[in-house]
Each structure stands twice: as C-alpha cells, then as structure tokens.
Amino acid sequence: MLFDLKSIRKTYGRITALNDLSVVAPLGAVGLLGPNGAGKTTMIRTLLGLIRIDSGEGEVLGINIRRKPLQVRQIVGFVPEDECLFPGVEGVEFVAYAGELSGMGRTDALQRAHEVLDYVGLGEARYRKVDSYSTGMKQRLKIASAIVHDPKLVILDEPTNGMDPAGRIEVLELARDLCKNKGMSLLFSSHLLVDVEAVCDHVLVLGRGRLLAEGTIAELTRSERPIFEVRVKGDLADFSNRLARQGCTFEELDGVLHVELPDGRSQELLWSTASDAGEQIRMLKPLRNTLEEVFFKAVSELA
C-alpha cells in the first residue's frame, strides 16, 4: 500500500479543502486528477505531513502522517509545481543542497548529485547556473533534487506544465522509468489526462475534497456493459439489421458500428451473425472509455 487516508477532513475557515476523504492507493504509479479547487494540493500536503488536519488518520508507506511527518518526508521526494529555484547556484550544487537538507553528508550529497544529474540527462549542464536552464531542464533538475536521497515515493505536482512537446516526453519517460524500472512509486498530479495515462496504472479523481472515482486505468475505462467496435467489408446496413434482430443495440459512427450485446451473450454472436450474412469482419475490438470521459463523468456526477 502506498498510502492510506481515513476520513481526512481539512478546512480553511469556511472552505472545506478535504471532506472526509478516504482513499487507499496501491504501490506503483498513481495519477491524481481533479478540477481546480478539488483538493489535490491539500491532499499532497497532507501526505507530506505539511498541514495539520482537522480529523482523520493517514499513513504513507506505513508511516503515520500526523505523528511522524519528518519520517514521511524522509522517504518521499516532492517535485513542486512552482519553479522554486534560486539563482546563482550551479545545478550540481542545487541538487547536492537538496541532499544535504534530507540529511546526507556533504560528500555523499555531492557524489549522489552527480549520479542523479547524469540519470536525468543534465550531466553536461551540471556546472551551469540554474537560472540559465530551460523550462525542461529546470523540471528535470527538480526531479533530480527530489530523487537525490533515493525516496520510495516521488510526488510530482504538474510536472509537464508549460513544457514544449520534446521536454514533456522526456519528463514522462523519466517518470515512467522511475516507476517501472527503478522501483519507485509515483503520485502524479496533472491536468493533462494524456500524461497521467502515459505514466500511471492507477488513478484517483478528486472533486470538492472528496474521492469521486478510483481504480486502475484499465478498470475505469472499461464500459459497464461490453460494447464492441465492428467494421465489416460488405453491406453495413444489412449486418446491423441482422444484429438488431438478435437483440443487439448499435450506433454507427463513420462506418464503424458500436454494438452493445444483449445480456448473457458473448462476442461469438457477432461472428455467427457475420457468418450468416456472408460478411467479413475486418475489425472487432472492445470499446473503451477514454480517461477524459471517465474524468468528465465523475466530475459531472458531482455537479
């Protein structure tokens, strides 16, 4: 388990940022979605033990966020959305400083800074002042400083904001590599659903401080009833009429049928209908919702 929040409530005056939020996230890459004001930042700060919650309990990798916030931050690396870089410091110095703040000795921190800068692809720019870095380089520098102490969980807050396509892809590859090959868990907060889909296996959708939807991307994008996309070589109208007689409901979109099978029937029905009609099925695949649809559905239900 990556983290476990139980009935977390946090208010700022009249504003309720987290409203009895309970969520259990598995190890791995977890996407955090939600519209502005959904409570994503408050949830991240709660996980880091940076805020005093009104009620509820929570653990990150088995460590209590209320009682041991420093221990939580010791095993978590955080990549903030803001730039957070002060000028006049070399890249390697900046990352080493982050290591020292996490309790590493000066020599260890410097050595480790060189390693992680090589890893994120900033080896050549390590002695350049951070203020001369491009947006993409600054983002990778922030990731380097977040992983310098080898955390078990890395929290990325809008890591691809304001980046050019090439830089964005590099950051996404980096995040994926950290999770898939380096054994780190990620909490990836982003407005760009395609980025979340590219990196994460599991998604949490927040809205008004509550959990609106959660699950693996595969589960969330699967339709409640099986719908298939079908394309045939011959007469689509005849084929669809035959399907209707079998109890199927369908919709045609640009020469492709979206067919919903009747209860208790499998896709075998499509093959047999095509066989009866003497049709060739050229494409047959289950229809999946996009993450965007899942997101909008969850948010609209809240509204």
Binding site: L70, P80, L101, G103, G105, D118, Y119, I147
Partner: protein
C-alpha cells in the same frame, strides 16, 4: 538528448539526525556568501581591530613581565604613570577590560555592515523565487529553516566579533606567562562571548524579520541602514532636546553599548582609572594626557581640570546612564517582535494555494 544512459543506483548511505539539519542551510548560506567579494573584503577589514587588540594584549603581557623585548620602546613606556609602571599587574583587569570594550566598540560598526551585506538576501530571496516549499517539503521544520538562516549571520558575526576576541584573549594569556591572568580576566572571556551571542541573536533575528518583509533585497538593505542610522539620529536629537534618561534607548546600537558596559564590567575599570587620577591632581593630569594610548581623544590635550572635576573618560558616558534593564527590555522586545514577524511572514504550507 539521451537520458538514463548512466542508469540509476539506489542509495543506502547514512542519514544524519534531525537535530542538526539546520546546519545544512547555514553551510550553504555561508558558502554562497563567501563567493561574494564584498563579504570577503568586509570580513578581512573587520579583523583589523582584533589584530590590534591581540597586539595590545601581547604588549601588555610583555610590560607585566618587564621583558627585554620592550627595550627599543622603553622611552615611550616611561610616560606611563608611576603606579602602572611599578605595578602593572594591579591594572591588568582594568586595562584588559578597556581594550576589549574598545574592540567591541569598533567592531560593532563592522557587525552592522556585515549584517547589511549578508542578511538581506537570506529570506527575501527565498520569497522572491518561491523557494520556501523547497525547504519545507524536505525533512526539516520551520524552526530549522530559521536557525539555518540565523546561523549564516551568526557565522559571520562570530567570525568578526566573538572569535577574534577569544583568540586575542588566548594570545594575551599566552604572552602573560601568568595563570593569574585567567583569574583576573575570565569574566572578559565570558562577557565577550555572551555579548557576541546577544548581538548575533538580536541583529540576526531583526535582519531576518526585515528580510521576510519584502521580496526586494535592496529594500531590505535600505531598511536596515535606515533603522541603524535613524535610530541613532533620533536618540541624539531626543537627548539634546528632551534630555531625559530614556532618550538613548531609541538608538539600537546604544542598547548594545549599555549591555556591553555591564557584561565587561566597565564601571569597575573606570573606577580603577579614577583611583589613579585621584592619587594626585598632577598625576591625574598626566593620566588623561593623550600619550596614554588606552585613552580616547588622543591627539589633543585635555582641558585643565578644576579641583573635584572628573575627566570625562573616567566617568560613565552620558548616553549610558540609564538602568540596564531598559536595554534588556528593548532588545528583548525587538527579539519578540522579530520572531512574531518571522512566524507570520514565513508561513508554513498549511494554507490554501
């Protein structure tokens, strides 16, 4: 650009405890400041008074021993009062006290300048570049952040005020060849360290508080200079117009002077010199002449003294004639105000974005 070509190794090294985590902030701040030429230059100049103190204490140690090394300047030493020449050890405490007081009097100027050079960027830069989350998302607390920043100012102030005083003390002790010096002057060592520590904490927290008020470091620097100069001017104006005992309290640095006067026991030193003066009107006239290097105002002959009139150098300065507790209260109040300002300006991340 190819990335990941070096791979990634997990790290299993030692992690220090949380207690001294603030030291990382101090180390980084000191490293950054030492890269600036103006800071290095200022620190070098600030060492000059300390060298002079050390040289003076060594000279005094040799005078006490009647060392033959002093043969070339024996003529100059003849101008010292007979009481001092015949029994220098009995004036040891007073002389050392006067010397340390003079050191701190001079170094106070450099302390204020150093705070001006080092302090403005400390918090205002973090506010300007939104770098506070960089610290607070790490395993450090807000108090560690303050301590780390205060440590930067503390390092430089200690380097130009406390460390030279301690080094000069040790040097003077070494050249005296007399452990009795320790017994006579230990209070100076303790007083110097305490005075330095008070200056570090007071000036440090005040500068941090001012630094937290603006994202513009130049404005912070100007505020510090304004506070330093305007408080002195205000106190001076009030002293000449209102002429009340409390008027000097308006000067930030006078409060340090008052504290130092007590910590180094300057009244006792003045009393000792006063006794020397009282031993005879003629001898006293000699005692306050400019040829004694340890009296201020050298270069001009003091006006003739009428019977019963005490030389100004041997009395408590007018601007320090108020109860010590007042200065303690002023400096304490400023500290509380600074701490409150810091706690409200450098907020935790427990707030809405």
């Amino acid at each position: 650009m190819p990335i990941f070509d070096q791979g990634y190794q997990h790290w299993q090294g030692a992690i220090s405890g949380h207690g001294l985590r603030w030291l990382a902030i101090t180390r980084q701040g000191v490293r950054q400041q030492l890269r600036r030429r103006r800071t290095k230059w200022l620190v070098s100049v600030a060492f000059v008074p300390a060298f002079m103190l050390a040289a003076f204490l060594v000279l005094w140690g040799l005078i006490e021993q009647n060392s033959t090394i002093l043969q070339p300047i024996m003529g100059l030493l003849q101008s010292l009062p007979e009481e001092i020449r015949s029994g220098p050890k009995s004036y040891r405490t007073a002389i050392w006290t006067w010397a340390f007081n003079t050191l701190f009097d001079v170094s106070q100027f450099f302390v204020m300048l150093l705070v001006l050079a080092v302090g403005p960027d400390l918090i205002s830069q973090d506010l300007r570049f939104n770098a506070i989350p960089l610290y607070l998302s790490r395993p450090i607390r807000r108090i560690d952040y303050y301590l780390g920043k205060l440590g930067v100012i503390g390092f430089f102030l200690a380097a130009v005020a406390i460390a030279p005083a301690v080094a000069a003390y040790v040097l003077g002790l070494a050249f005296s060849f007399d452990l009795g010096v320790l017994k006579d002057t230990w209070h100076l060592l303790v007083g110097s360290v305490a005075y330095g520590a008070i200056m570090v904490v007071s000036a440090g927290t005040l500068m941090l508080a001012i630094s937290s008020l603006s994202r513009n470091s130049r404005l912070v620097g100007a505020t510090w200079v304004g506070l330093w100069i305007m408080s002195n001017v205000t106190a001076g104006v009030l002293m000449t117009s209102v002429k009340q005992e409390w008027c000097p309290l308006f000067s930030y640095t006078t409060n340090f002077d008052r504290l130092r006067d007590e910590l180094l026991d300057m009244p006792a030193a003045r009393e000792k010199f006063l006794g020397l003066w009282k031993s005879g009107q003629n001898a006293a006239q000699e005692a306050v002449r400019p040829r004694f290097p340890f009296f201020r105002g050298r270069g001009r002959r003091p006006p003739p003294l009428s019977a019963g009139q005490t030389p100004p150098m041997l009395t408590t300065p007018v601007h320090l004639r108020f109860p010590l507790i007042w200065s303690v209260e002023v400096l304490g109040g400023l500290f509380v105000l600074s701490a409150w300002t810091l706690s409200t300006r450098v907020k935790s991340l427990d707030r809405l974005k």
